[in-house]
Symmetry: C3
Subunit: 158 residues, 3 copies
């Protein structure tokens, strides 16, 4: 099936052979998803398996741009697992509204867009270009448990 | 009264003996709260009394995790003061939608969830677990007036 | 014409002799604006002309507070160009809901509000005080292409 916007995100996941990680669970007094009206807000998503980071370190120092991009993809996959758990199916998503990629970097790092592509290239493949979000990317000083990226996003549902 | 979700947040505040600080006022050309539809957005909340910081410094260096947690609780109390001023009563809140805790940290700091609990543990006590938000936590390089935390949040009202 | 809230933002732009830069275009798989209900979300806006930064550097080190404020105004102008392109006219804006100014700073920098005024003072002049947003300002470690500021905002339309 082609990647046109009317196809199913769940079908594309299966075709690409992507298995989502276990849905994330909170590290404190909060929840992973909240719906208000047609929007669903998600907690910051990180590259974990359960509560265990699968990658740690700072991009530009411990990790290359390419490793940062992979970590961002992992965080996004965790987010999709949270979305599927909350919505029942990714096919209920009518639009990804907004995506923010926070990354722990050295002060001199400047290739943030390439790192963030780890999330948005995946969304493009699964949801098609008509559902792409706005994007904000920036480099921060530190992250929970020493992880390199946090992905924050908001979905629209029917 | 037990902390079940139908009790009143204002009642719980009184029972816990918590007195909210004066509502914050802007440091520039902006407002403290904006409503659109059923959502109310708030400016970044900081640990101040009037325009004077009640705590300054970097977590992991000048401040311990526990001190950072207390600063986060103070910023959240300032946010609740802003919410009460805008809404008339905290009992108009039907849900806390989203909470972001930005904290100034050293590069090696990794205990962000414990610091952020200063805000969400308070929300849990006042609003009950059914109204808990999604949460994003991260460490940044610097903050207005050298303060250690900013709390950003969005509320849903009836 | 006075700056009261019923006048036209487009008229005020013309009166002030402000020419908006070319609307920004994405650096990856995302879009510059997404509408959901009455809200329009925008990608992070930076001080660019096309894809070329018009200013680089860290505030408090390479750039003064005043230079940071000018960079923030430039980023906001880029955002207004994106808004006009998406909406047809800035006069469709009923409210600026939320504005976040992320700035690359030294660790000791504390004058974030003055830098952020570069965006909100402009909004005040164009839209009047009744349409001012909530504001969040913070200092981060690094930015795409070494730029000093990112402005993120959400607009409400009729």
């Amino acid at each position: 099936m082609s990647a046109d916007s009317v196809a199913s995100a769940e079908q594309r996941l299966a075709e690409l052979g992507i298995v989502l990680p276990p849905p994330p669970s909170p590290f404190g007094s909060y929840v992973e998803a909240v719906r208000s009206g047609n929007l669903v807000y998600f907690s910051g998503m990180v590259p974990v398996w359960g509560h265990e980071p699968i990658v740690r370190g700072r991009i530009g120092e411990d990790l290359t741009t390419e490793q940062g991009k992979l970590a961002t993809e992992q965080a996004m996959l965790s987010g999709l697992a949270a979305a599927r758990e909350f919505l029942g199916s990714l096919d209920h998503v009518t639009r990804i509204i907004k995506l923010t990629v926070y990354m722990a970097t050295t002060q001199g790092f400047a290739d943030h867009p390439k790192v963030a592509d780890g999330a948005t290239d995946l969304l493009l493949k699964l949801f098609g270009k008509e559902k792409l979000p706005v994007r904000i990317v920036l480099g921060v000083a530190s992250m929970p448990l020493g992880m390199p990226v946090i992905v924050e996003f908001v979905l629209e549902v029917a």
